[in-house]
Amino acid sequence: MTMLIPLGICMISMAIIFFELPKLKKGGTKLTWTFSILLVMGTSLNIAISLNAIIISPLEAIMYIFQPVSDFLKETLLNKKNL
């Protein structure tokens, strides 16, 4: 049962490739490369999530970058200390 979902995701990716083949042949190499990279990213992300391998949010990176500014704003304007 655990392997069923990743298998399904792979099937969906195959279907997408099959569906887009005629357009990709016309589109040139750059389009094919972009398409492949995005598809591999999407498939691997989905499989990783279905196996519960990802526990950290990608937004954490953005939050980390803006942490000093947002803390400063909070302390000066709302008078709240971040615990």
């Binding site: 589109g27 398409f35 949010s57 990608p58 704003l73």
Partner: protein, 379 residues
């Protein structure tokens, strides 16, 4: 790819629904927590300040002619820096698309179908977005022309049916808030309400057939959208009270549950939920379309349509991991999101304008106006 054009009326409708966006569901609770019963003042000031922001975008759009934001960034800032900035922009819009899909899944799971995993709603909702993206912005705009009267009708019905339950005591005392939380709240409100309008510059000068009236439409759309959001915030506080509003996840939905006309017209909140579906759909589509067009313009691809399905898969994946729970999402939307979008919506246009001034790039408005006179399809 044939060029797609939208009329100024369609653009105004897009602006209205886009500004209302997610705010209608998420803003009331968090702002009531910050400034108590004066939340409607924040919304009013925020709406008026947004007009200044639009002034900035329109000044920028005069220099853009037929280019989108991504192309202009590359043209003004040079190939390397421009590509880097555009890539960051595309990443942010893609993450936000995932976030909106998370919101819609979360909303439906919390309020409507409690046993269904949110990803199911996400997949179905994503299908609509991909479908719209496949047909492009013109078909999308025409669709909204059909949906918008329904949206307005529901909004007016909502106002009429909820108003008997208003208790003016909930609003008092007025102007109790001190100046510092007010500033913080205005930043927070504008971060969800008008900073994301920068995304519309992907379509604003380049896909519009009548620029002159579209500029007016930009202002009008923002004012109407601001009015709708302000009405929702004010009604939430007037009917539910400050404490109840700030404790709910979706106060507007609770408000719709309160509708009761003569004890026979009740429980119509799910019809009202159509409004939130429409606004979130518009915003999610615009983010998705911006990232799609952004990627294809960074890499200078001729046809962007094959990229839609792979991006859709990525969005579905992101929608499951962007927020682990509603607390995380609230924290992100209050503290980080206004700042991160402000980098693109305030600093980027100003930097572009300074660079344009230094490089002496003139407004190229006349060419477009002449082109419009020959265009039989008036907006």
């Amino acid at each position: 790819m044939e060029k797609q054009l939208i009329s100024s009326r369609q653009f105004t409708i897009i602006v209205i629904l886009y500004t209302v966006g997610t705010g209608i569901l998420i803003i009331p609770a968090s702002i009531a927590l910050e400034v108590k019963q004066d939340a409607w003042i924040v919304a009013t000031i925020g709406t008026l300040l947004s007009l200044l922001l639009i002034k900035l975008y329109i000044i920028l759009s005069n220099k853009m002619v037929n280019l989108s934001l991504v192309e202009v960034t590359e043209k003004f800032l040079g190939s390397f820096v421009g590509k880097f900035v555009s890539l960051a922009f595309v990443l942010l819009t893609l993450l936000s698309t995932g976030e909106l899909i998370y919101f819609i899944g979360n909303f439906l799971q919390t309020e409507v179908m409690t046993e269904t995993p949110p990803v199911v709603f996400g997949i179905f909702f994503n299908f609509i977005i991909l479908f719209a993206a496949y047909y492009g912005v013109e078909v999308f705009a025409r669709t909204l022309e059909i949906i918008f009267p329904v949206f307005l009708f529901l909004f007016i019905i909502f106002l009429i049916f909820v108003s008997p339950q208003i208790d003016i005591k909930n609003m008092q005392p007025v102007f109790e808030v001190s100046i510092q939380p007010l500033i913080y709240s205005i930043l927070h409100f504008m971060g969800l309400f008008s900073f994301p309008l920068i995304v519309l510059l992907i379509i604003f000068p380049s896909a519009i057939n009548n620029l002159q009236s579209s500029r007016k439409g930009f202002y009008i759309g923002t004012l109407v959208g601001g009015f709708i959001v302000t009405a929702f915030i004010a009604l939430s506080i007037l009917v539910l009270g400050v404490t109840n509003t700030s404790l709910r996840t979706f106060p507007s939905y609770t408000l719709a549950q309160r509708i009761s006309v003569g004890d026979f017209l009740q429980r119509i909140e799910i019809i009202m939920a159509f409004m939130w579906m429409v606004t979130i759909f518009v915003r999610a589509f615009m983010y998705f379309y911006a990232s799609l067009i952004g990627i294809s313009q960074i890499l200078k691809l001729k046809d962007h349509r094959p990229l839609i399905l792979p991006l859709g898969m990525i969005v579905i994946a992101l929608s499951q991991i962007v927020h682990e729970n509603i607390i995380h999402s609230g924290k992100y939307n209050q503290e980080t999101w206004p700042l991160s979008i402000a980098v693109f919506s305030i600093f980027l246009p100003i930097i572009l304008l300074i660079v344009a001034k230094l490089r002496n790039i003139k407004d190229k408005d006349n060419k477009k106006a002449i082109h419009n006179l020959e265009d039989p399809r008036k907006g």
